[in-house]
């Protein structure tokens, strides 16, 4: 079985691109490469990661300008064919701006940049990144963002719940949803969502920053390993 092919898209201002490459290699032995935002050839990937950072300085709105990169046309086409796409933090913001995921980001409710560990409850197993996890399982991951207050209009959100598009919610260590557990005021404690088909996932927390023993936490590796399992099932 050949190694999973992972492409990380590098935007001007991305700063978690190397972390994503290293995590993909160390967790699932991926053949992982960077593709610049100006390229349209994604190098035939099994998975595209839009990394964290501050693309285009977060000017105008987070992710607003990265959306118009040539590479994003290819990402949209790849996603439309059912290709797996993972947007982390700024990558999640870009996916929302591009319309590949529903909703939009507001400034954090507390107005401050929040950089700390949070707990996430797994809401669905239907995405490649949560396939091997249990519904209700609690993961610990770091966040670092100022615009993570995800929102959507009530009708859109109701439809998303019906279609099982909420992937992660902020919870406390016991898995309970509490006001204190939500670091940014996001609607209904949403931390991560997927598209209708389930192949495009965005989340504010950083799995690539907690995927090795050396970093003191390996919960993020579970998402990568889940993807590798999903890919294997898809190939056979």
């Amino acid at each position: 079985m050949s190694a999973p092919r992972v492409t990380v898209v590098l935007f001007p201002g991305s700063n978690c691109d190397e972390d994503a490459l290293i995590a993909a290699r160390s967790t699932i032995g991926a053949d992982a490469r960077l593709v610049r935002h100006t390229e349209t050839d994604l190098l035939n990937p099994d998975l595209v990661i839009l990394p964290g950072g501050f693309s285009y300085g977060d000017y105008l709105r987070s992710g607003a300008m990265a959306r118009f990169s040539p590479a994003m046309d290819s990402v949209a086409a790849f996603a439309a064919r059912g290709g797996a796409v993972l947007g982390i933090c700024n990558g999640f913001q870009i996916l929302c701006e591009a319309g590949l995921l529903p909703g939009a980001m507001l400034r954090n409710a507390g107005l401050r940049f929040v950089c700390r560990d949070v707990f996430l409850g797994v809401e669905t197993k239907r995405t490649p990144f949560t396939l091997v996890l249990d519904k209700g399982e609690v993961l610990r991951m770091p966040i670092a963002h100022g615009d993570g207050n995800w929102t959507a209009d009530p009708g859109t959100f109701r439809q998303m719940v019906e279609r099982d598009q909420v992937v992660f919610r902020y919870v406390d260590a016991k898995g309970e949803r509490t006001p204190d557990a939500n670091p940014n005021g996001s609607l209904e404690d949403v931390a991560g969502i997927c598209n209708v088909a389930g192949n495009v996932v965005g989340l504010m927390p950083h799995p690539e920053r907690c995927s090795e023993e050396l970093l003191g936490n390996t919960d993020g590796a579970k998402l990568f390993r889940s993807f590798a399992t999903a890919l294997l099932a898809h190939r056979t």
């Binding site: 529903p102 939009a104 107005l111 005021g185």
Partner: protein, 85 residues
């Protein structure tokens, strides 16, 4: 010709910045301020002499880039002649 594009969060969308500013104004004693919405104004210098065309173009680019229609509304208008920069 100068076109102004104003972008504000939609009325139903919580505005954390506007709320913080509103709270600060209350602390300063401005009890008459009931609500604050923070927004953005873009001043576009545009080529061409036809105001309708400039406004149409501004509406298109505002919808495409300057505003996110999921959370924001916008309005466009010609800046009054001789308006201060």
């Amino acid at each position: 010709m100068t076109v102004l594009v104003r972008v504000f969060l939609k009325s139903g969308v919580l505005d954390p910045q506007g709320k913080a500013i509103n709270d600060a104004l209350h602390r300063l004693g401005y009890a008459n301020v009931v609500d604050v919405r923070a927004g953005k104004i873009f001043r576009l210098e545009m080529e061409g002499a036809e105001p309708a065309a400039a406004l149409a173009s501004a509406r298109k680019l505002a919808d495409q880039l300057l505003a996110n229609p999921v959370i924001e509304d916008f309005e466009v208008e010609l800046a009054p002649a001789g308006a201060a920069r």
